[in-house]
């Protein structure tokens, strides 16, 4: 019986490789104790809560170390900038409509945005696998997870900053598909 996968991934992403190893080890020990005492579901909830409450402090430590600065920068350049550029392109298209139209984008434009941004995220994942090979970087998985989370946050920020109105389904799709694309290509390149 293992702790929740998403919480583990979040822990790996927010903590640096060294901290993640120690914190995850401690949490897993306590997780086993809690599971014995209170059952599986309660233990999973406990684990997720512990990760959530430590995430801020661990992230702060990692940001202070300067390790995340270029991860955030790369995620922003890799996914947020293309998404904003696409938003500007559609803004231009809509501003040219003879009798002006609103901020709702046609579904085909949103699908095009999603495909482009997922492709950019996939490139980011491939880049992470090339830049941080496991042989040289023991914490490469943690960095790739951090990159995927940063990409998801960068997408949300870009959607918020963009002029167009974004339907909830579109926001959720991008927030899930972008990190998934990055992690998928990272894993594929690693497996080669």
């Amino acid at each position: 019986m293992k702790p929740p996968l998403l919480a583990q991934a979040l822990l790996m992403a927010v903590a640096g490789p060294c901290e993640a190893e120690y914190v995850a080890g401690d949490l897993e020990e306590e997780f086993a104790i809690v599971r014995e005492a209170r059952g599986r579901a309660a233990a999973r909830r406990w684990y997720a809560w512990q990760v959530a409450r430590s995430a801020g402090a661990l992230l702060q430590l990692r940001v202070r170390s300067g390790e995340l600065t270029h991860v955030v920068l790369i995620a922003s350049l890799g996914v947020a900038v293309p998404l904003l550029l696409l938003d500007w392109l559609w803004q231009f298209v809509y501003s040219q409509i003879p009798l002006k139209d609103g901020l709702h984008r046609a579904p085909e434009f949103l699908v095009f945005n999603a495909l482009c941004v997922c492709a950019c995220a996939a490139v980011l994942g491939a880049w992470a696998a090339w830049k941080w090979p496991a042989s040289k970087w023991p914490g490469s998985k943690s960095r790739a997870l951090a990159l995927a989370f940063a990409a998801a946050i960068a997408v949300l920020v870009a959607l918020w900053a963009g002029a167009a109105s974004a339907p909830a389904a579109y926001v959720v799709t991008l927030a899930l598909a972008v990190p998934a694309s990055a992690l998928l290509t990272f894993a594929l390149r690693k497996s080669r």
């Binding site: 803004q91 231009f92 298209v93 809509y94 501003s95 040219q96 409509i97 003879p98 009798l99 002006k100 139209d101 609103g102 901020l103 046609a106 490139v123 491939a126 090339w130 002029a163």
Partner: protein
């Protein structure tokens, strides 16, 4: 670094291909053309008011904030002008003026306008009302536009479908407003 070159090359290739596709599509027969129609449960005279009255125009053409009629309170007759002031949220909320000059004006069946916004587009818009009897009217609107900016010309295959959707929305709003007004008047 080789793969960066591949990605960069691929991206440039995709953009070039997209431009070629847009250029080819821009030469199709119905480029810049949008039209919409509806059967409205009101007489032609009742529908006509919604095309002619500046206050009513603002209600069914979305994003219009003001309608100016330099030739009098209700613009009428060939050669008269009608200026639609639109707030363009896609252009930083700027106010854009679309000037229309009547080229045909025959109440309550026919209205043609030559429309233009300097530096953006020019074209024509035609309105036709056909009496279907029993208080019903067939309403048709058609627009033919040409974009003056080169980038807008390139993006015409994307702009025109968006203009078509906007026109469909406006016509369905007109239908519900006219029918609401007509049923209240009965």
């Amino acid at each position: 670094m080789k793969w960066i070159l591949w990605i960069g090359g691929g991206l440039i290739g995709v953009i070039a291909l997209a431009c070629v596709v847009l250029l080819v599509l821009g030469h199709r027969a119905n480029a810049g053309h949008a039209s919409a129609s509806a059967d409205i449960n009101a007489s032609p005279a009742q529908v006509w008011q919604w095309l002619d009255d500046p206050g009513k125009l603002k209600q069914w053409i979305s994003w219009v904030v003001e309608v100016r009629t330099p030739n009098g309170p209700v613009a009428a007759g060939v050669g008269a002008k009608r200026v639609l002031v639109m707030k363009d949220e896609n252009n930083g909320g700027m106010l854009m003026e679309v000037e229309g000059v009547y080229t045909a004006y025959q109440p309550p069946t026919e209205m043609d306008l030559a429309m233009s916004t300097p530096g953006a587009f020019e074209g024509t818009e035609t309105y036709r009302l056909t009496d279907l009897r029993n208080g019903r009217t067939h309403f048709e609107v058609a627009g033919q536009f040409r974009y003056t900016m080169w980038m807008a010309q390139l993006f015409e295959p994307l702009i025109t479908p968006a203009a078509q959707k906007k026109m469909d929305g406006d016509v369905s709003r007109l239908k519900s407003l006219v029918e609401g007004g007509a049923s209240a008047a009965r």
